[in-house]
Symmetry: C2
Subunit: 135 residues, 2 copies
DNA sequence: CTCAGTGCAAACTATTTGCAGATTT
DNA sequence: AAATCTGCAAATAGTTTGCACTGAG
C-alpha cells in the first residue's frame, strides 16, 4: 500500500504525501503537472499548499517513486514509476499523452552510446504530433 | 550570408540579430542558452539587452533559423538549424553536448507513430550520461 | 518618414525557500 | 519530546511584456 512506499523512502507518512501518491496511483490519467495535482487535491477538499506539492514531488522523484518529465512547454509533468521504462507520444492539440516502448530503439540507443564511449544513464524520447481521429 | 537569412525571415537586419546569428554560425560550440549568448555578446563589447536576445531567439526559432531544445534542467538551449536533423547526448558532468543521427531509430519512430494513428510532427531524443575519458 | 526593433524595468510563471507552528513517530 | 513536515509568503530563475526612444528601409 501507499504508506509503505512512503516509509521506505525514509519519509513520514503524512496526509499530503498519501494523497498525492494515491492520486497518481488511482487516476486513469497518468501524467500530472504540479499545479494540476494541487488543484485536484483542493477539489477533493484536501487542503495542501502548492509548496508542499512541489516538495513532495521532488522527494518522491528523488526516492524513485515517481518520474519527472520535461516535455515541451513550460511545466514539468510527473507520473508514477511503475518500473517499466517507456517513452511518450504527446498530442500537441489535446495534450493527451500516451506511452510506448520499443525494444529496437532501446537497443540502438545502447549501441550508439557505446560507439561514442558514452556511459548512458537515462534517456528521454518524446514524439510530438497529433492523434488522428478514428471515425 | 547572415543578412539574407534574416531578411528572408521577414526581419530587419539589425546588429543584435546579425551578431546572434554570427555567434551561432561561427562558434565551435553549437549549443547555447539565452543568458550564455547574452554574456558572449557583452564580452565582445556588443551591447544588447537580455530581452532582445530572448526576442530574437524566439523570432529565429519561429523562422526556422534555429532550433530550441528543452533538455533536462532549467533553461532552454538553442542551436543553428543546419537542416540536418539529429538527436543529442548530454554529458551530465561537464554539460557537453554532442549530436548523433541514427536511421534505424528514425525509422522506428515513424513506424511506431503510424501504428498508433499518430501524425508525427517532431520528436526529441536525448541520451543523458557521461563521456568516458579516452586516456 | 514609417514601422519594426531595442533597452530598461516591471511583470509573469514555474518552482524554491525561510520560518514558525503543526504532525508524525 | 524530537525531528520532520506543512502552509504561508517572500524569494528565485528564466522568460516575457509595456513603453518611449532608436534605427532600418
Amino acid at each position: 500500500m501507499d504508506q509503505s512506499d512512503i516509509k521506505e523512502a525514509g519519509l513520514k507518512v503524512t496526509k499530503p504525501r498519501i494523497e498525492i501518491l494515491k492520486l497518481l496511483e488511482t487516476s486513469e490519467k497518468q501524467h500530472f503537472g504540479a499545479e494540476e495535482i494541487y488543484h485536484e487535491l483542493l477539489s477533493k477538499d484536501i487542503k495542501v499548499g502548492i509548496a508542499t506539492v512541489y516538495r513532495v514531488l521532488t522527494q518522491f522523484t528523488a526516492a524513485g517513486l515517481i518520474i519527472k518529465h520535461n516535455f515541451e512547454g513550460d511545466q514539468c509533468v510527473f507520473e508514477l514509476d511503475r518500473g517499466e521504462h517507456h517513452d511518450h507520444m504527446v498530442d500537441m492539440k489535446s495534450g493527451k499523452i500516451i506511452e510506448f516502448y520499443d525494444e529496437i530503439i532501446e537497443q540502438r540507443q545502447k549501441e550508439i552510446a557505446k560507439e561514442h564511449g558514452f556511459e548512458l544513464m537515462e534517456h528521454s524520447l518524446t514524439l510530438y504530433g497529433e492523434f488522428k481521429d478514428k471515425g
